[in-house]
Amino acid sequence: MTRHGFVIDLKRCYGCYSCSVACKAANHTPQGVDWAKCVSAEIGTYPSALRQMLPLVCQQCAEPACMDVCPTGATQQDENGIVTVDPDLCMGCKTCMMACPYGARQTVSTFETYFPDAEGELDPYEAYCLEQWELKNGFGLATKCDYCKDRIADGKDPACVEACPAKARTFGDLDDPESEISILIRRNAGFQLNPEFGTDPSCYYLPPR
């Protein structure tokens, strides 16, 4: 069995948002949807203040809280542990958004152009993105990162992993003890975010400095 997972090295991430942009380009997410977020936190006071980025993706939890609460069966988990939303079943009740501890689920009800001052039709790229979004996700429904399932099927890394200039992200198989991510987790005290929620995330983080 394969359990797709991520390792994100917090020492390496410097908050350039390349992952966010790559995700947007790969998944045609409209305004208001950001599946590969980066949030920051600060501790201490000047002159010994510290700022640390935290890149977030869907944690593809082994025990997904979002799936438990979903009434329609729209939220499903595949044999490799990837959690997806079937837009043909989702009714947009947003219960999953309340249950997910990681803010991984997002919804938008309408499409907003990035160029509101431009008159007439959408520019061809925005029109293409809109068409793709409607085809694969839709408005008013729950949407989320699926580790770029289609790219993985083609043997590629997820778009955010490929784009990260600091090599802060590594993708692999958690079930294989010899995979790069399993070794990284073992050797660097990898940890899951907020394990108290009991969702057993497949995304591990390596400690910051």
């Binding site: 917090l10 208001g32 950001d34 977020k37 949030v39 920051s40 936190a41 501790i43 640390q52 935290l54 977030l56 809280a65 799936m67 438990d68 609460v69 979903c70 009434p71 329609t72 069966g73 729209a74 837009p87 043909d88 079943l89 989702c90 009714m91 947009g92 009740c93 947003k94 219960t95 958004m97 309340m98 249950a99 997910c100 501890p101 990681y102 803010g103 997002q106 919804t107 009800s109 839709g138 408005f139 008013g140 429904l141 729950a142 940890f191 975010l193 907020n194 929620f197 983080y205 400690p207 910051p208």
Partner: protein, 298 residues
């Protein structure tokens, strides 16, 4: 660090939670009155007929607020884990039994069948009043909701608003049932006091986590404090309580206008109660080593 509350469940959800509880409670009061003899017949009819209509309106509001209402047809698929699925099943059973009860009541038919339908409707009605509390309490990242007292607060608020609505409507449609309305008014004052105590305990119980404390602060002195103190506490509980006490003990319970005013204020307050509880749903922070992060856009 300023914590953020969820924004995705707003007024449409608050209106549904309110109307769902109110409709079920009004029906339950009507059905219970049906067992109390001839003198309660008018009030029983008022409760049963209006309760089912109120719940139906609540469901329409909920459906309209969904991203894809047509897919609600699948909503019963996961009763093993999802409170929405369980809720849909409970509401459906309620609508079937209470709906037949409603039809028979409207057409003055049914005879011996009414008490049986009433009993099943009452059980389902309590289910409807309770499940919304469990639905919210199941969301562990929102400490303010994940509180075992929330279903009790929702149940008490539903029963209280059901009593006020029955009093309000009975004042209009069966104004001669003065003694019966006095009985309901006494219980509404008791429930108002109980609800104030239950809410105090509920808010106190949220103080165990930083998110719970942030939510309680938001409620009592922050963003929602005006709505809470003026709308929920003063308008929804305190003023109706005082009005009913004056009516009961100063005017012999005969002031119909007092029932109507207490009812209108109390119902607005109970709607606002649902809204403030939803609005104060502060999400848990994420923790990575020494750093704590607030989630954006939820």
């Amino acid at each position: 660090m300023k914590m953020k509350a969820q924004t995705k469940w707003g007024w449409d959800h608050a209106i549904y939670l309110f109307l769902g509880g109110l409709g079920a409670a009004t029906y339950v009061i009507g059905a219970l009155a049906g067992y109390a003899g001839e003198a309660w017949l008018g009030i029983s009819k008022v409760g049963i007929i209006s309760g089912v209509i109120i719940l139906a309106i609540g469901y329409v509001v909920l459906l309209v607020g969904l991203g894809r209402p047509m897919n609600a047809i699948h909503a019963m698929k996961c009763p093993g884990t999802s409170w929405i699925s369980r809720g849909v099943i409970i509401v459906l059973l309620f609508v079937i039994f209470a709906g037949i009860h409603w039809l028979l009541t409207v057409f003055n038919a049914g005879g011996g069948l009414l008490p049986i339908l009433g009993f099943i409707g009452i059980v389902m009605g309590f289910g409807v009043m309770l499940y919304t509390g469990f639905l919210l309490a199941a969301n562990r990242p929102i400490a303010f909701w994940a509180n075992p007292l929330l279903p009790i607060v929702f149940l008490a608020s539903a029963l209280y608003s059901g009593l006020l609505a029955t009093l309000l409507l009975s004042s209009i449609f069966v104004p001669d049932a003065v003694e019966q309305m006095k009985f309901l008014a006494v219980h509404s004052t008791g429930l108002a006091v109980f609800l104030i105590l239950a809410m105090a305990l509920y808010i106190w119980g949220t103080h165990r986590t930083p998110e719970g404390r942030a939510a309680a602060e938001m409620l009592m002195s922050g963003q929602f404090s005006g709505m809470f103190w003026v709308g929920v506490f003063l308008m929804g509980l305190f003023v109706p309580l005082v009005l009913e006490l004056i009516n009961l003990y100063g005017m012999g319970g005969t002031a119909i206008g007092m029932h109507i005013l207490a009812g209108i204020l109390g119902l607005i307050g109970m709607l606002l109660l649902r809204q403030v509880i939803l609005g104060c749903g502060v999400m848990a922070r994420l923790q990575a080593a020494r750093f704590e992060y607030v989630l954006p856009h939820i």
